[in-house]
């Protein structure tokens, strides 16, 4: 028989077990585990270790299974990882499946009564008498349900070696201003860690070690980052209808605006309206855009479908508005709490007739912030709806990032004529391409000038904004609208991010939140002597950089999280000559994509 030590050594050699593993906590939603998981994640972050936290939750308020995964990675890879090394199995409903999902020699912390040893004998079990321990914290039944989750925080931190002072700091931050809650939670952690210290013998190899890789970093979710972007873009009208997973864009924004955009006499420099539905939300945002405000709405797939008619109206009548689409799994209700990149085609071409919209596609929380600011500039510069295409994984999960930078450019309010300019010009035609860039001039309602008024109509209109059904008027208008987008993509839209590898024969194209997994894949491929170049699309319509990139390589993989290879179709339709080089790598089960998944698909395809 092997000694315990020998066994331990073997495991140590087969994995990197310091600062490189995933912790999965399985609980039921509504049990208050979110606080415990946040405390764990923040403590690791404050120990200088790169972390990401993902909440996999049901479309439900209370009582259904939920999983929180913390990935620690010293190299800074933050993507979702299917492989789980460390499990806290608090939910009896899912415990059997959960423990089955662990890697061999993984670690399982569970309530003793679940007897998970019987399920997997090839993982290390630490069985904890959670019920007895929580009884020492409180005898209040309701509180027990909540603080039981802090007991596992204590157990996990003792087993992994998380710094006690960081746990304490994180608890104080989590329950800021609630002295009783802080006391109770600290007590629970302490009872958990004491139990582990006294009763458990550590036989697993997983450890955390202080690093210095999170200095000056922040942790934020993508939706809050979008909200910050909107505030610093100077948004003044926010209209919305709650829908998962976009709700927290507006809820965060409301908090920020109330704190930072009230005047000294307590008046708002903004309006937030919770609309009766998405149809009204976009209608209000369009009304405010016409009125001269930076306006926005935020929604997800079903809302995008409902907004289709109005977005076509705003495109055709040239009214600026910013629409956030935090994508979730469709079609129909789909899986509201699962992530997807399934709205690329529908958002890009939303509405009947010939329509095409500017879309910006953030791939990180930093870009949720900075591309949101750009979206508001683009909307007013080009007088058209602009989409911010984020997704649930980016929007609702916590990501580590460099601190956001203050915008370097002033607001671009676009071509708006005021009274003095109208006086000087002596004429005004709302839809005339005066400058040859396809972008006309507009006036705001209320402008005190007899030339200022014009009639916005979703029906055929002339350069002077009068009604027309003349064939040539219509063609001219449609061509000009197209020219406007040509101007945008040639010079003004966010350019793709390109990382060239001189040795590469293979190209990879991605966009949005898959960026994390793609970068990890590219490094893994490189270790395996497969060199690749990478282009990340950051906006639609695509500019020539994308076509030029594809032309350089024998084969280009387009990685996306939808069934129908939506971005590949857009690339193929805009650059038909190179379309044959494109191969689709898809992952669309609702979970964020794992680097291993992309890696395996590419390797299989290379053979």
């Amino acid at each position: 028989m092997k000694t315990l030590l020998a066994e331990q050594n073997e495991i140590l050699h087969s994995h990197s077990t310091v600062n490189d593993f995933s912790i999965e906590v399985a609980t039921v939603n509504g049990s208050g585990s979110q606080s415990s998981n946040t405390v764990l994640m923040r403590s690791l972050f404050h120990m200088g270790i790169p972390v990401s936290g993902k909440n996999l939750f049901p479309s439900n308020i209370s009582g259904l299974p939920t999983w929180f995964t913390i990935r620690l990675n010293e190299k800074g890879y933050l993507a979702f990882k299917t492989k789980k090394e460390f499990l806290v199995a608090m939910n009896p409903q899912t415990a059997i499946e959960d423990v089955k999902g662990l890697i061999k020699d993984g670690v399982c912390i569970s309530p003793a009564e679940l007897n998970l040893k019987a399920i997997r004998s090839d993982v290390i079990h630490y069985e904890i008498p959670f019920n007895d321990l929580v009884a020492k914290v409180t005898d209040n039944f309701k509180l027990k349900k909540l603080v039981i989750n802090m007991i596992y925080v204590g157990v996990v931190s003792e087993i992994l070696g998380i710094d006690e002072t960081e746990i304490e700091k994180s608890i104080k931050a989590q329950f800021e201003g609630k002295a009783k809650a802080i006391e109770l939670n600290l007590k629970a952690v302490q009872i958990g860690s004491s139990y582990a210290k006294e009763k458990l013998t550590k036989i697993d190899p997983y450890k955390v070690k202080r690093m210095n890789k999170t200095h000056d970093k922040i942790i934020i979710d993508g939706n809050s980052a979008c909200a910050l972007g909107a505030m610093f873009a100077g948004v003044s009208v926010v209209t919305w209808y709650p829908i998962t997973p976009s709700t927290s864009v507006c809820e965060s924004l409301i908090d920020y605006l109330k704190e930072y955009r009230m005047t000294d006499d307590n008046k708002a420099t903004f309006s937030v309206i919770q609309a009766e539905d998405e149809l009204a939300a976009i209608g209000m945002a369009i009304g405010a855009g016409f009125g001269g405000c930076r306006s926005m709405t935020s929604t997800s797939g079903p809302g995008i479908s409902l907004m289709a008619e109005f977005i076509g109206f705003a495109y055709f009548t040239e009214i600026p508005v910013v629409i956030f689409d935090i994508q979730r799994v469709g079609p129909s209700t789909g899986m509201p709490t699962r992530t997807s990149q399934g709205d690329i085609l529908s958002a890009y071409y939303l509405s009947h007739g010939d329509t095409k919209h500017i879309c910006v596609i953030p791939a990180s929380v930093e870009e949720c912030y900075s591309l949101t600011i750009e979206a508001f500039d683009l909307a007013e510069q080009f007088q058209t709806p602009v989409f911010v295409l984020s997704d649930l994984d980016l929007g609702m999960n916590n990501w580590m990032s460099d601190a956001f930078k203050y915008p370097s450019k002033p607001l671009n309010r676009g071509k708006v004529l005021d009274k003095e300019q109208l006086d000087k010009l002596g004429q005004f035609m709302r839809y005339k391409d005066v400058d040859g860039d396809g972008i006309p001039y507009r006036t705001l309602p209320g402008t005190n000038h007899s030339l200022a008024g014009y009639f916005v109509r979703g029906s055929g209109h002339t350069e002077a904004a009068t009604y027309t059904e003349k064939p040539q008027d219509y063609v001219n208008l449609m061509e000009r609208l197209n020219k406007k987008l040509e101007t945008a993509k040639a010079k003004f839209l966010p350019k793709p991010e390109i990382n060239l590898n001189k040795e590469a024969k293979i190209g990879i194209i991605g966009y949005g939140s898959t960026d994390f997994a793609i970068k990890e894949t590219i490094d893994a491929l490189k270790e395996n002597k497969v060199n690749t170049s990478y282009l990340r699309i950051r906006s639609l319509p695509l500019n020539s950089d994308v076509g030029d990139f594809v032309a350089k390589y024998d084969k280009v993989y387009v990685i996306e999280q939808n069934r129908d290879s939506q971005m590949l179709r857009i690339i193929a339709s805009e650059f038909p000559k190179i379309a044959h080089k494109l191969t689709s790598i898809r992952h669309f089960d609702g979970l964020p994509v794992d680097a291993l998944n992309i890696y395996n698909q590419i390797i299989a395809n290379c053979k």
Binding site: D216, K217, I219, I220, L228, F232, A233, G234, V235, S236, V237, T239, Y256, Y260, R261, T263, K267, A268, T269, F270, S271, I273, A275, E276, D277, L279, A280, I282, G283, M284, A285, G287, A288, G289, F290, G291, G292, S295, E309, F310, F313, A403, Y406, P407, L411, T443, L444, P445, G446, T447, H449, S450, A452, G453, Y454, F455, V456, G458, S459, T466
Partner: protein, 345 residues
């Protein structure tokens, strides 16, 4: 030239009636909507409202085309079908000083747009909202709308077997503070009601029966000119004195009620046969319901309540219009970002 300008009538701004007109109407000859447009033009002229302070809004349908036929110098937005209320809410939010007028129809307001109308009422967005109500879809050639009365007959003999949605009843139920019904064929009353609506701070709903001469003006229609003229029962005789005019004509106390509107104008309601009290919502609701049961066409100011908080008051925004805020007012300073970032570390 002085000699000619003297002969042209002008309002208090020195503008002529022509300054308030729009492009020529494309409605059918004799359409009730044109009669309403004329009264709108006259009301703006009489009240001396500057056209650039007005935004005209509409949805889709015959009625929704009409904003092109008045106040050609004002901004306008002809939105998608039934969704003008949300656009109006947005425009009001952008600039609370703009004077909004919405023109809609019975299809636009009572069918596809019913939801948005309800929420416009609930929010009490300050605007004049006119429903040009003819009981049919004109632009698609004569299908019943949701305000068509039970038993009303189409040109092809089809009888409407569904009950009508009553715009005024709905507005009262939802708490609208200015609810009136009028008739395109009663210009005198309509003129006063439009002016009163323009002077009201809040949402003013005017349900105006406006016969469709092409598709719903025949025998058997309950919304024809003939039927409306025969059955109209005014609740009171109305008079209006704008805030800038001296009140010279005395009225008999007891027989006339004088209401000072928000802007200082006076609305006068002279009692007719019925002793109608327009300040009781309960009474207004009862009146509308019983009129419906008896098949009476009651016109006039059904309900007025000046105490309602309007949407702009609720939104509590700065004195400037939001659309006029500068970058310095809209974008918080670098130290705000810095302190937010520090909190996320």
């Amino acid at each position: 030239m002085a000699s000619t300008t003297n002969t042209v009538n002008t309002n208090k701004l020195g503008l002529t009636l022509n300054d308030y007109k729009g492009s020529p109407s494309t409605m059918c000859d004799g359409c009730g909507h044109d009669a309403i447009s004329s009264q709108i033009i006259k009301a703006y002229y009489d009240l001396g409202i500057e056209p650039h302070t007005v935004v005209k809004l509409s949805g889709i349908g015959c009625s929704s085309k009409t904003p092109a036929y008045f106040l050609g110098k004002a901004h306008a937005i002809n939105a998608v079908h039934g969704r003008m209320p949300s656009v109006a809410t947005g425009v009001n939010t952008a600039n609370k000083y703009l004077r909004l007028i919405g023109v809609s129809g019975d299809g636009d307001s009572a069918s596809i747009g019913l939801g948005q109308l309800c929420h416009l009422i609930r929010r009490n967005v300050p605007m004049v909202y006119i429903v040009e109500n003819n009981g049919v879809y004109g632009l698609t050639k004569g299908q019943f709308s949701a305000t068509a009365d039970l038993g009303s007959k189409l040109k092809n003999g089809v009888i409407n077997d569904l009950p009508a949605i009553d715009i005024c009843g709905l507005a009262l139920e939802l708490g609208c503070g200015f609810v009136a019904r009028s008739f395109a064929g009663d210009p005198k009353q309509l003129s006063v009601l439009i002016k009163a609506a323009m002077s009201y701070k809040g949402l003013a709903i005017l349900d105006v029966i406006s016969p469709c001469v092409t598709f719903n003006n025949h025998e058997g229609s309950t919304k024809s000119y003939k039927k409306a003229k025969e059955s109209e029962i005014p609740l009171h005789e109305l008079g209006f004195v704008p805030y800038f005019e001296q009140i010279t004509v005395d009225y008999e106390p007891g027989s006339t009620v004088d209401v000072e509107m928000h802007d200082g104008s006076h609305l006068r309601l002279k009692k007719l046969d019925r002793n109608y009290d327009p300040f009781s919502r309960q009474n207004a609701l009862n009146t509308v319901l019983s009129a419906k049961e008896k098949g009476e066409f009651l016109t006039g100011l059904l309900y007025l309540d000046e105490s309602h908080k309007d949407f702009t008051t609720i939104m509590n925004t700065v004195d400037k219009p939001l659309s006029a805020l500068t970058e310095a007012e809209l974008r918080p300073s670098p130290d705000v970002l810095e302190s937010i970032m520090a909190g996320l570390k």
